[in-house]
Symmetry: none
Amino acid sequence: MKEDSAKEQRILDTAAELFSRQPFHKVLLSDVARAAAVGKGTLYLYFKSKDDLYFAVLFREFSTLIDSMRRFLDENALGPGEQLAGVVRILAEHFHTTSFNMELLGSVITCPVTDEWKQLRADLWDLFARIIRRGIDKGVFRDEAPDLTARYISGLVRAVCLFAPANADLDSVCRHASGFVLRGLALER
Amino acid sequence: MKEDSAKEQRILDTAAELFSRQPFHKVLLSDVARAAAVGKGTLYLYFKSKDDLYFAVLFREFSTLIDSMRRFLDENALGPGEQLAGVVRILAEHFHTTSFNMELLGSVITCPVTDEWKQLRADLWDLFARIIRRGIDKGVFRDEAPDLTARYISGLVRAVCLFAPANADLDSVCRHASGFVLRGLALER
Amino acid sequence: MKEDSAKEQRILDTAAELFSRQPFHKVLLSDVARAAAVGKGTLYLYFKSKDDLYFAVLFREFSTLIDSMRRFLDENALGPGEQLAGVVRILAEHFHTTSFNMELLGSVITCPVTDEWKQLRADLWDLFARIIRRGIDKGVFRDEAPDLTARYISGLVRAVCLFAPANADLDSVCRHASGFVLRGLALER
Amino acid sequence: MKEDSAKEQRILDTAAELFSRQPFHKVLLSDVARAAAVGKGTLYLYFKSKDDLYFAVLFREFSTLIDSMRRFLDENALGPGEQLAGVVRILAEHFHTTSFNMELLGSVITCPVTDEWKQLRADLWDLFARIIRRGIDKGVFRDEAPDLTARYISGLVRAVCLFAPANADLDSVCRHASGFVLRGLALER
DNA sequence: AATGAATGAGATTTCATTCAT
DNA sequence: AATGAATGAAATCTCATTCAT
């Protein structure tokens, strides 16, 4: 059925763009089709339904994000604090460019609970948890429940981006968010 | 138009319940009407449109929340740290009982930009900012941008509640969230 | 939900008309709606789906037919031969006015196998079987398997109507069909 | 256009199978293509349209049937009664194996009125009419309108097969149908 | 000749909103 | 004020047909 993966990507790109600008029910599949320059039926060649498309967008967005965080960590030999600041920055950029309409992990309630999704979520949390634990091991962080903290760092960053003053530049928002997270993990001295 | 305020409240209660369990587009006005035990047309006596109802729910929910935080602060003579822990707890309870589907400040979901809404938002942020500034004045907090921090504390708490493990009890989640925020505001010693 | 039974009947009338002139997939619900002078959504107030509407038409058509045959039998004190000729005539008129596109019993395969439908089918067959058995009892018919015969008399009449020459008048077609059926049940003398 | 006649036959076989099990609009060309193990586009090399394919199936089915009846008559020197019983049996077998969804002569389902089709229909009717007339000539049948009778014998047999009890075996159904037809043509003695 | 991805007209269905009662 | 049947615009989705490969 699928053959032209480039087309699938184009559809996903377009849909991502539209879903990020409007709530789900205001995004029309005819708009997606037109904007992606494909026939309406073509959408259904690649995606079972509007919901399916929506979650595919979310999934890809999410995967990409995790990949780029991983790459950042792999390609730079940094200390835990710098690592955390770095991934927070990547997250913030993601939320800044991509939409806030898309809850990063999908609403927990609505988004599919397939193994794929569970894995993705676990991956994100694991990524943060590793950084935190490494920091603890190195004696620079302190956290009684790293797994819990890991779970909501992304939500925290989202909140920062979402509610930052309209005129705030990304840099200062990031700096503030990172600072906050880092102090939250700071050793009591 | 409006006359029977009890009925209006019943509609709001019902709608709050439903909107909190499902995304906007899955909540049908016929469901709301049935659950509220009123005719579908009656909804339109009290609310201009589905959007209007949605935002009315949000507004009331939000106002109630702010009120209860204010009351908590007024009725208890506490230090800044305890104040913060207290309002975090109230927030967490709110997110726990009420829905995660309703973005608290809905700033992106293009919620109305009337003066009413601006005021409400300002009130919430101001509430947090005051606590933080009071802490700074008292020499127990440290924050370079209290207004910025104030803006995303609610988002942080939401994230914590949203992504806490299903089996986590509210108490430990609150404790963790408060601890995190408080350390984020801690003086460097 | 339903209140206006007259409207439901109008929809059924219209649909019967259209389904009788064209095969299922050429009958558009927008045509039905327009012809019945109701909104497209109204159809769904009374019928769950296009299939549902189709079978409702069939069911009513069928019930009406059985009723008129029953009434004919009740209101006229006739001998078995005359009874048979009469109901054949009624059947033929039905097929003549109503459509041939609608298989009287619905395609056995496709049409719902609810109790309602089973009952209706049983009623028709019973009606014929009674006449035949009465004829046997009175010594004017002969049939080794009245129940089997009863099952296909309606199909036979349909076939006669369906394949009669275009210019044949209803009377002669009926006469021939009745004659054929009656001889088929005739005593060997 | 057509070249590979074996492939064409395979398509026809497959389509016959599918059309016989479901009504026209439930048979998808993609199903036909998949089941026939050809590409969807290939169907269009052999048939102009879905309708065209449908009628081609019908035509072939019908021709085969007439051929086998003719062969039966040619290869066996039988009296009119035996001839009739024989062709009824062939018809019944046809309806039993092939579908009831395909109206044999499809006269209403606006099947093409080409000379080919007129001829085919005429052939079937003629075949029956000849048998009946031969019976009349031989003094064993009696029928005032053999042409009319000829027209609906096939419909009668179809009805018998269609509505016979599910557990009835073909033999007894045939015997009953033949008996009915033969008595319908019986001399009044 | 053969394919099946792509198409888009048009099908069914939904649901916020209206309005006669 | 209250209703819910009626509406129809607009949404999702289907599928016969085309066409580039």
